[in-house]
């Protein structure tokens, strides 16, 4: 899979496997919490499982994105519309996904 992510291309190609969790059967699962393996759970995030059904997706904001020069090499930074719009980027190290609409 060709990813326009510069030097992070190999890393994100493997990392994108996490999105296969969205293909879990919605007949079995109602909501999932998808976590990266490089994070350490300090407090239980059980409350993220209790989000109402009208919130199909929740993830933390990547607040450090705009101030980190390493990320400025990526293709996102090189697209002027994205850079100037200063959209809120979300990190995917923890995501609460409703399988129905995810």
């Amino acid at each position: 899979m060709a990813t326009p992510l510069g030097k992070f291309s190999h890393f994100y190609t493997e990392s994108s496997n996490k999105f296969l969790a969205f293909l879990l059967p919605n007949t079995t699962y109602r909501r999932i919490i998808l976590m990266d393996a490089d994070c350490l759970i300090l407090r239980p995030p059980h409350h993220l499982l209790e989000l109402p059904d009208d919130i199909p997706f929740a993830a933390p904001k990547a607040y450090w994105y705009w101030n980190n020069p390493e990320y400025q090499d990526t293709a996102f930074w090189q697209v002027p519309e994205l850079r100037l719009s200063r959209q809120d980027f979300l990190t995917s190290w923890i995501m609460s996904v409703s399988v129905d609409r995810g």
Binding site: N17, L20, N26, Y29, R30, I32, L34, M35, A37
Partner: protein, 161 residues
């Protein structure tokens, strides 16, 4: 033969002697019994009301899931190399340890997507270790686990799955 008037008199006298007098005689007993029953019911009602008012407020968050919705929630981990697989195991163990207040419809059986879509960066030994952990530790009804004696993995609550 009795005339109609005599039959009426006999019937009236029979009723007065049998049914009406019995009703009059048993009337006060019935009201006494009813009043005692009412007192007992009121006493029991106040007792149970007092018990329910002294009951501590449940602090656990109730699940916002419909009763007929039997689908589960799940924690999903994935690993692309052995180091990440080890980190996923640590997080699974911590979830088990911090599982107090876990919603009852939560499936803690973590799904390793790498098992479904294997990559050469995760060794076979690591996959076997993860499978062994999932099958023997997470689904083991006996708790605490032998590792629970360790100060690192001391459980705070007993969890029955």
């Amino acid at each position: 033969m009795y005339s109609t008037e005599e039959i009426g008199k006999l019937t009236r006298s029979y009723l007065e002697r049998s049914v009406l007098s019995r009703r009059r005689r048993h009337g006060p007993r019935i009201w006494t019994l009813l009043s005692i029953t009412a007192v007992i019911v009121l006493t029991l009602g106040l007792h149970f009301h007092k018990i329910s008012s002294n009951r501590p407020v449940q602090t656990t968050q109730m699940a916002l899931v419909r009763p007929q919705d039997l689908r589960k929630c799940a924690y999903v981990f994935y690993a692309t190399n052995d180091g990440y697989a080890c980190s996923a195991l640590v997080n699974m163990m911590r979830l088990r340890r911090l599982g107090e207040g876990l919603p009852p419809h939560t499936d803690l059986s973590s799904l390793l997507l790498q098992m479904t879509f294997p990559q050469p960066s995760v060794t076979l030994r690591s996959r076997k270790l993860v499978l062994k952990y999932i099958t023997r530790v997470l689904f083991n009804p006996k708790w605490p686990h032998p590792w629970a004696n360790s100060p690192i993995f001391t459980p705070k609550a007993r969890i029955n799955f």
